[in-house]
């Protein structure tokens, strides 16, 4: 179904109205809409300097999208260097072998036996507020294409979602649309959704966060990096036709703060800048690309995402050794009235661009035909060092490609620690009133369990297919998602995606480290070896010094922690301008950690499955309540300093859990994080309906904390494990030998209550019927969202 290159699919459009390079050189005085396209005066002047003339409309369109914050990282670049600088130390401090890193479509790491894994998280925040279903759906679709472009088969997705307050009238619109969009795309494309997170906080009211992660697997020899090399190789565009959707998505939508409308809402006027997704087309594209790679008929494949053809052509040409010439009228169009600059800016989904040797073109087209994927030969690799784009024979773009793709503006934005932070940090949650008796603690536990941020996520995750492909070994609500990669050996990967905006609001440096800590812990307690990191760094406006300082601190904190944990950052993205008017989100670094299991059979699930096992709390509990769920739910409070970061303790915990997994010493392990030990115990019980009897006196005495801290503190590097009686001595010997603090806090028990009903009994706090706990835990989201 390739388009006839002599006639093209596009009806001839009169070229007289098209702004050519010749015309641009002859008419330097023409007023151009650079400001409407999101460019600043000095940026426009620089484009004129680079070209030695004014840009054509098409060139202006390309520069405007590629120099947007979203594509150029112009405000974050000077900070993001820290990740690259930290990588050698992180590699030296761990066991990771990186095959491709930051700068590629997605990072690639070795996982053993000749297998590699590529994974990346990306934000789609602004589109998901303006048009929640399509915004979220195309967020998933976009990150999947990044993974395909590396030559990998996508094997799973995850999503990290943050919404405004549950009781705000606009939240339901966004929640329903985003969840249906993530599910609609992922379910229809056939990738299991294996985990993620969902949070509600007023700070995200006008700026919800939709961060999607995709992981793919490939053999080492199948790794493909996209570049336009080889004089005479042809450039083929394939996949969906190009339409008028998503024009300016990366610039006017993603790289600007929302204005506040008179009615208090924001953004709907930007709806045409949101793309529209077609997961069925993308499913065909996956299979088609894998077959193209397998048949060896492509030199490289580049995905089209943000900035569409502008990005794909300039990045491919930049990465190559020569230049590229493209005939833009050969692009198959959904809307024949589109002009060259619109075609270059369109972010229509489900498109890819390939570099193909001329002698393999026939085979290439046979494969795209077999998958009913439309393709069109647009041009070829040249030796001019220029990116030249023509429109019906007239040159509309003639630029050095690196000036578009990589040599955009770089800003050293001014930043300053916000002056309100001292007062906020001094307002400690540890000083808030605490429950005075068991009944009070019992009430707080139930109140927290049912609260929007601690209640069951099943209302969301039950709308996602977690089973497709048949390799899912664990998924939400377990601590990490685990998928098998090699059916023969059972080799697989674990993934966790975590963030805590409240901690980062109190201290962004520590908040970033705590996000990494938690994701690392979730992977570690599942029995996997954590090896690599991806991130979505969500922040306010870089033009606001306070938000810029938060961002700089987030990067510094995360980079430092990756060195300590030996887990390099392999890729990720930055989302700025998450603010409406003067109101910004909490700085929210969302961190994904990838771990490896030699055999996923050895994974450790999060819920107890049998009675009579000993429950141990691993790690030290401190009187740390600031930023906690307890402070939020019981006191509606945000202040103080977040929990102390202890990365050595995280490494130790993960090492002991790995040993326990290899020797089969524990049946279940659940990390202690949001909501503290109380939440971990309830979740451990509810997973399979097995109760527990718990006493915390020994813990309180050893760590010098009261019951409030024992139950609700969110100290790091802790987990609850269920140990079969037969393994108890061996397990405690391992923990003792390694110097891991541990204390026996109870036993599992499946028939303790009246009539044999399972219960959770916590001495000096109270006894809870599991059925009541389940009701409290599971009813909240269905009650609010239906």
């Amino acid at each position: 179904m390739s388009v006839d290159s002599t006639t093209g699919s596009t009806p001839a459009v009169g070229t007289s109205r098209v702004d050519t390079v010749t015309a641009a050189a002859a008419t330097p005085e023409v007023e151009q809409p650079w400001a409407d396209l999101g460019l600043r005066a000095e940026e426009y002047d620089r484009i004129r300097d680079i070209l030695g003339r004014r840009p054509t409309s098409a060139e202006l369109a390309m520069y405007s999208v590629m120099w947007s914050e979203h594509c150029s990282y112009k405000s974050s670049k000077v900070h993001l260097r820290r990740f690259g600088d930290a990588t050698p130390a992180a590699l030296a401090n761990g066991s990771t072998t990186m095959l491709a890193g930051i700068g590629e479509n997605a990072g690639v790491v070795d996982i053993g036996d000749g297998w590699a894994v590529t994974f990346k998280a990306e934000s789609h925040n602004h589109p998901s507020y303006v048009e929640p279903y399509q915004g979220a759906a195309t967020g998933v679709g976009g990150i999947i294409r990044d993974i395909i472009a590396m030559g990998a088969r996508p094997v799973a997705v995850m999503d990290s979602l943050r919404f405004g307050a549950v009781d705000h009238p606009d939240t339901g619109r966004v929640v329903h649309g985003v969840v249906a969009g993530v599910g609609g795309y992922g379910n229809c494309i056939g990738l299991p959704n294996i985990g993620g997170e969902v949070y509600f906080d007023p700070s995200y009211q006008g700026n919800p966060l939709v961060n999607a992660l995709c992981v793919g697997a490939l053999r080492h020899e199948d790794l493909h990096l996209a570049n336009a090399t080889g004089l005479g190789n042809v450039i083929v565009l394939f996949g969906a036709r190009t339409g008028g959707d998503g024009i300016g998505g990366v610039s006017v939508l993603a790289s600007e703060t929302f204005d506040v409308n008179a009615d208090g809402t924001a953004g709907p006027s930007k709806r045409p800048a949101v793309q529209v997704g077609d997961p069925f087309r993308e499913k065909l594209l996956i299979e088609c690309c894998l077959e193209l790679f397998h048949a060896g008929v492509v030199e490289g494949i580049q995905d089209l995402g943000g900035a569409g053809l502008s990005c794909a052509t300039s990045e491919l040409a930049s990465a190559g050794d020569g230049g590229m010439r493209v005939a833009l009228e050969k692009v198959p169009l959904r809307d024949p009235s589109l002009r060259p600059e619109e075609i270059l800016m369109s972010e229509s989904q489900e498109r890819m661009m390939a570099v193909v040797r001329p002698d393999r073109l026939e085979e290439f087209l046979a494969i795209t035909d077999r998958w009913e994927v439309e393709s069109a030969v647009l041009g070829e690799v040249t030796d001019t060092g220029r990116l030249e784009i023509t429109w019906h024979g007239e040159t509309v773009v003639d630029v050095p490609p690196r000036t578009v793709a990589h040599e955009g503006p770089v800003y050293e934005r001014p930043y300053a620690r916000p002056d309100w932070l001292d007062a906020r940090q001094a307002d400690r949650a540890e000083d808030l009133p605490r429950a005075q008796d068991g009944a009070g603690l019992r009430g707080q536990l139930l109140q927290m369990l049912a609260s929007p941020n601690l209640c069951s996520r099943a209302w969301v995750t039950d709308q996602y297919d977690r089973y497709v492909l048949g390799n899912t070994a664990m998924a939400t609500p377990d601590d990490a998602g685990i998928v098998r990669i090699d059916e023969r050996t059972g080799r697989g990967v674990a993934l966790a995606l975590d963030g805590n905006g409240r901690f980062a609001a109190l201290d962004p440096y520590l908040g970033a480290q705590l996000a990494l800590s938690e994701a690392y812990r979730n992977v570690g307690v599942s029995g996997a070896v954590p090896i690599a990191v991806t991130d979505c760094l969500n922040a306010g406006s870089p033009e606001e010094p306070g938000a810029m300082w938060q961002f700089a601190e987030v990067v510094r904190g995360l980079a430092d922690a990756t060195v300590e944990l030996g887990t390099p950052v392999t890729g990720g993205n930055v989302s700025f301008y998450n603010s409406t008017g003067d109101t910004a989100i909490h700085p929210t670094p969302v961190v994904g950690v990838l771990g490896v299991l030699d055999d996923v059979d050895r994974r450790i699930p999060s819920g107890w499955s049998a009675a009579g096992q000993a429950l141990y709390l691993l790690g030290t509990t401190r009187d740390e309540l600031s930023g906690s769920a307890w402070a939020e739910v019981v006191h509606d409070h945000l202040g103080g300093l977040p929990p102390r970061v202890d990365l050595d303790a995280e490494r130790l915990l993960a090492a002991v859990m790995l040993a326990a997994s290899r020797d089969g010493l524990v049946d279940a392990a659940h990390d202690v994080s949001d909501g503290g030990l109380a939440q971990a115990l309830v979740e451990g019980c509810l997973r399979h309906g097995v109760g527990a009897r718990v006493w915390l006196e020994g813990l309180c005495q050893r760590d010098g904390v009261d019951l409030t801290a024992a139950l609700f503190a969110e100290s790091v590097a802790r987990a609850v494990v269920a140990v079969p009686r037969s393994e108890e001595i061996r397990f405690t010997d391992v923990a003792t030998a390694r110097g891991l603090t541990h204390v026996r806090i109870g036993v599992t028990d499946d028939a303790g209550g009246p009539g044999g009903r399972p219960e959770l009994e916590i001495t000096d706090v109270g006894t809870f019927d599991l059925a009541d706990l389940r009701t409290a835990h599971e009813a909240t989201l269905p009650r609010i969202f239906g």
């Binding site: 379910n187 069925f280 089973y467 497709v468 048949g470 059979d601």
Partner: protein, 226 residues
């Protein structure tokens, strides 16, 4: 024994169905939607997914795929055919099975571990179950509500053609809690839940689904021996 697994554009669980066939001791044969040749298979599985994006109506386009002409012909000739989820929808659209599948009554996609009762053990795909057996297999669909007119429902009940029924709550508004049905011969079966996701320890809630696939293998073996 050779069991064909059809891949339509947009089929998603075809690999899983092929794995289930293999674990049941048969040889999976991949069948392509555009190919009318069934390659001499002894049974056919139409897997789950979103064939052709399900943009018109689930299964409505797949029914016209060239391979379906051969599948319908083979089914009429007695070849066992199993339709899972989207495959069930295709069987209804092809009129190999009565009724239709409509959008879930709660309007949402639902993925959960679903308890079922095996109501008929006389079909080619359920002969290995104990009568009345209760099983748990994953359910995942957005358009899983089985509907038919009262006379058809009475006919299905009367002829023992309700093969699976939902237990522990109707997940999608299916009439009479029906999760799966058969044709009059018991050789063509369709169900919404996904037995192919419950065939391997550690990768699904149970291994209850494997019996569906071993049933048809055992039946073929018995046929050869007889």
């Amino acid at each position: 024994m050779r069991v064909g697994v059809v891949t339509f554009p947009g089929s998603l669980d075809d690999g899983d169905a092929a794995r289930a066939v293999r674990l049941a001791g048969a040889e999976p044969v991949r069948l392509w939607h555009a190919d009318t040749d069934l390659h001499g298979v002894d049974a056919v599985v139409l897997p789950g997914g979103f064939s052709y994006g399900d943009y018109l109506r689930a299964g409505a386009i797949a029914r016209f795929a060239p391979v379906m002409t051969s599948v319908v012909e083979a089914a009429r000739g007695g070849t066992p055919v199993l339709g899972i989820c989207n495959g069930f929808q295709v069987l209804c659209e092809s009129h190999l099975l009565p009724g239709a599948l409509v959008r879930n009554d709660h309007q949402k996609f639902l993925c959960r571990d679903q308890r079922l009762r095996v109501e008929s053990t006389t079909t080619a795909w359920t002969s290995g179950f104990e009568p009345g057996a209760e099983v748990v297999v994953p359910l995942k669909n957005g358009e899983g509500g089985f509907v038919a007119d009262e006379a058809t429902l009475d006919m299905l009940e009367g002829e023992g053609r309700v093969v699976f029924r939902y237990l522990g709550g109707n997940p999608n508004g299916s009439r009479r809690d029906i999760a799966g049905i058969s044709d009059a011969t018991g050789r063509v079966v369709g169900l919404m839940p996904h037995p192919e996701h419950a065939v391997e320890r550690g990768y699904g809630p149970t291994t209850d689904g494997l019996t569906i696939f071993t049933s048809v293998v055992a039946g073929a073996l018995a046929g050869v021996l007889a």
